[in-house]
Structures are given as C-alpha cells and as structure tokens.
C-alpha cells in the first residue's frame, strides 16, 4: 500500500486553498497535492503516494548512487576475468 511513484511537476495551481501539481508519470498525467512539499517547483521530480507528494527527489543523490553502483558493477566484472 505504501506504493509511491516518482513524477515530474509540470504546473502548480491552487484548489480549495491547497497547492496542487499536475504531475507527469512517464506520459501519464495526474494531479497530486503539493502541500507537504512546498519547496517543489516546476521541473522537479516528486514521489507521489495516494494523491500526495511526500518528498522532492534529490536528483544529485540519485545520480551519485547510480555512478557508485556502476563503478561497483564494472569492478566486479573486471575482477572475474
């Protein structure tokens, strides 16, 4: 049930006093409430669960993690031979 999906904020509007975002999930667009991520701007990635953005995705951390894991994979491959 704690399924949460990353998506890109396309636009920010206000509905009934709450900040709402139009979010692009790889081509599928849906609305999510942005009240818990006031720092989220257009172009940011947020993680969305049950209609609410819970956190802004740290793209630098994501890139750093992938780079480090890539180095590990490369090292393991070389080390085998």
């Amino acid at each position: 049930m704690c399924l949460a999906v990353p998506g890109k904020v396309l636009e920010i509007t206000e509905e009934n006093g709450l900040a709402m975002g139009l979010i692009d999930f790889a081509g599928t667009r849906n609305k999510a409430c942005l009240t818990y991520t006031p720092e989220a701007g257009v172009g940011d990635f947020v993680i969305v669960h049950a209609g609410f953005a819970l956190q802004v995705l740290n793209e630098e951390e994501a890139a750093a993690s992938l780079k480090e894991l890539g180095r590990l994979a490369e090292f393991m491959e070389k080390d085998k031979t």
Binding site: M1, C2, L3, A4, V5, P6, K8, N16, G17, L18, F25, A26, A32, C33, T35, Y36, T37, P38, F45, I47, H49, A50, G51, F52, L54, Q55, L57, N58, E59, E61, A62, A64, S65, L66, L69, G70, L72, A73, E74, F75, M76, E77, K80
Partner: protein
C-alpha cells in the same frame, strides 16, 4: 520511467549480488518490513538470486493485511447505512470481514466508492451536502499525512458531513514487538523507504542500539533492495549495528516535518490491534478527541462492534518472520487469494499472496 528504470538495471544488480556473495561469511536472517518490498523481491526473484547464507523473512508492513477484522466489520456496518457514501482505497474493498466485504455491500445497493486520494472523499462531501461521506483511513506513516489532510481540509471548509474510520498503524512499535519476542529470528531490517520519507530515521537509532540490529531504510526497486541487503550484511559481518540509509534520493534524516506536523494536529498515538498479531501498545493513530465530529466510529456508534480473530491460519507467525507462507497446511488449498483465510493472503502485498502469485510454493 525516469528514476525507476535505472534502479532495475540488471548490470548494477549483478555487481551488487557479486559483492553480497563476497561479503557474506555466515548465515543471516533479514526482514524486509514493507509488503511492497516483499512483492518486489518475489517479482524480480531476488530471494532466489541471493547466496544461501541469506534468508529473507517478510514483515508486517502491509496495512491492508494488518487492519483488524473488527475495523472491517465496523466499516461494513457504516457502509451498509442509507444516506452514506462510503469511500476507500481500492485494495480495502475486497478485504473480508467476519461475514462480508465492501464489494458485497455495494452489490446489495450500498454506495461504496473507490478513491485514489482522500481529497476525493472530501470533494464528494462538498458536492453531496445531503449525504454522509465516510473514508476508511488505513495505512502506515506514509499514508497518514494525506488522510490527516482530508480531515484538516474538511474542518477548514466547515464540512460537517465528512468523517473517517481511522485504523492507522506505526512501524517502530511493530519492529520492537518482533525483536522482543523470545522466538525472534530477525537479525537485521530493511526499513520501509516510503515510511522514512515522512519519518526520517531518528526513531530507528534507539531500536538499533537497544536490540543491536542494523536497520537500513531501503527503496523498492531491485537495485535498491540489493543495495539495502548489502549494507545490512556489511553491518552484520562487521558487528556494528546501527542505521544506514540506502534510499538517499528520497529519505532525509529529518523526514518530512511539514507532513508530520499535520498528522500530529489531527491524530494521536493509541494502542492498536493488528490482524494476526494482536494488540501492540502505542502502535496506532486515532483522531484526536477535540476532532471527534470527524470520527466515524463515534458518529455512527459502531465502537461496540467487537470481533475476535479466528485461529485458522498462521498469518501472525508469518507477519513476525517466524514462518514462511508455504509452511502453512492451508496455503494454496483452502486458502487462496480468492478465498483468503487470513491477513497475509488478503492483500496483493501480503506475503502469502505474493508467494501464491509468483509460485514460490515448493521451490524453497
């Protein structure tokens, strides 16, 4: 999909698996807390790729599974009333109570509707002033902020026809219940990454210290899970329990304080029954007394409905990591996803349902 596909890269997964194989020197039992992680482990076959020293056991992190029968029975009693629009996330609709489920109430004419966000239930209340709109608020710390905001928003708009049946549960008390059991097998945890987006990892530090276990907030993609396992195994092998974050792109130490403030404004901590496990002190959330007008159990006077759990399956032992689904004699026979006998077969994220779907019976 960006930020999902990269974390499913088979080359990265291979590198991690190789490093896990090189690091492990003795048997370890690790529990993944979240049902979403259990599902991913089965779907991607991670349990079958790990070295034999590592045993993954599946935790209680499936809110649909652990929602007590009593709450379902109370929800059914409210949903069957005239003039009520009963709303719920989709996965709660087919959960059986003692004699019924929400789908059957709907088929008999009850106005039961699935919502994607709790704010949709508030919208229904706004658009149907002559009806009572009730939302079944279940979930862990991940879901509580949205469900709390629905009450806050209804109060701000002066909607008197919106209320919630709240059966929220909290992760750390369940971890402590598992660790303090004399039969406990769990030596390390993959903590549920999305719970930690809200809660951070402050609360895990004292648990890691008291029970001398590693706790690693972990994401949900195969590369995340393998990296979480690697971090846990490294801490276990080094004998240095503690908290180490795997889910760096989304989990910060402080979590999301803005969301937690709203949860604390609307809900308060209470004792909570867990389906299959029983009462765990201070393991749940309920609506604060001053907001009782939004508490559907009080509003519709269903608090008197008390249901005892039948002793028909081993879900409690599975939820505590003591047994695996295929060790149950009813698994795949009397008990299937269409005819679930207990908590862990009820939801698609339950360990028994995941084993059934991915045909793990007889493989291990």
């Amino acid at each position: 999909m960006k930020y999902l596909d990269e974390f499913r890269d088979p080359e990265l997964a291979k590198g991690l698996l190789e490093e896990i194989r090189r690091t492990v020197t003795q048997p370890w039992t690790i529990m993944e807390i979240c049902g979403g992680q259990t599902h991913a482990i089965m779907r991607f076959g991670i349990d079958q790729l790990l070295p034999p020293e590592i045993t993954l056991v599946h935790g209680p992190g499936c809110p649909v599974c652990v929602t007590p029968l009593e709450t379902i029975d109370r929800a059914l009693a409210v949903a069957a009333r005239e003039n009520v629009i009963f709303t719920s996330f989709g996965d709660m609709l087919r959960v059986p109570g003692s004699r019924d489920d929400l789908f059957r109430v709907k088929s008999r004419g009850g106005d039961v509707r699935m919502v994607y966000s709790p704010l949709e239930a508030v919208k229904l209340a706004r658009e149907n002033p002559g009806k009572e709109v009730v939302f079944l608020a279940v979930g862990f710390e991940t879901t509580a902020p949205g469900n709390a905001m629905a009450v806050k928003q209804a109060a701000a708009e002066g909607l008197t026809n919106f209320s919630e049946i709240v059966s929220h549960v909290l992760v750390p008390p369940a971890m402590e219940a598992i660790l303090s059991s004399p039969d406990n097998l769990v030596q390390g945890f993959l903590a549920a990454g999305h719970v930690c987006t809200i809660m951070g990892w402050d609360e895990y530090e004292p648990i890691a210290a008291r029970y001398k276990v590693p706790i690693v907030p972990t994401g949900f993609e195969p590369v995340d899970i393998l990296e979480g396992i690697l971090k846990t195994v490294r801490l276990l092998e080094k004998g240095t329990p503690g908290v180490e974050n795997q889910y760096l792109r989304l989990v910060r130490e402080e979590g999301n304080p803005v969301a937690r403030a709203v949860v604390n404004e609307i809900y308060e901590v209470c004792d909570r029954k867990w389906r299959g496990i029983g009462m765990i002190p201070r393991s749940g959330l309920r609506i604060r007394d001053e907001l009782a007008a939004f508490d559907a159990e009080k509003k519709f006077r269903v608090e008197g409905i008390v249901t005892e759990e039948p002793e028909v399956c081993i879900a409690g032992e599975i939820l505590q990591g003591l047994k695996k689904p295929h060790e149950c004699p009813a698994f795949g026979k009397e008990c299937t996803p269409r005819t679930p006998l207990g908590a862990t077969m009820v939801s698609s994220e339950g360990a028994c349902a995941a084993y059934h779907k991915y045909s793990r019976k007889g493989l291990s």
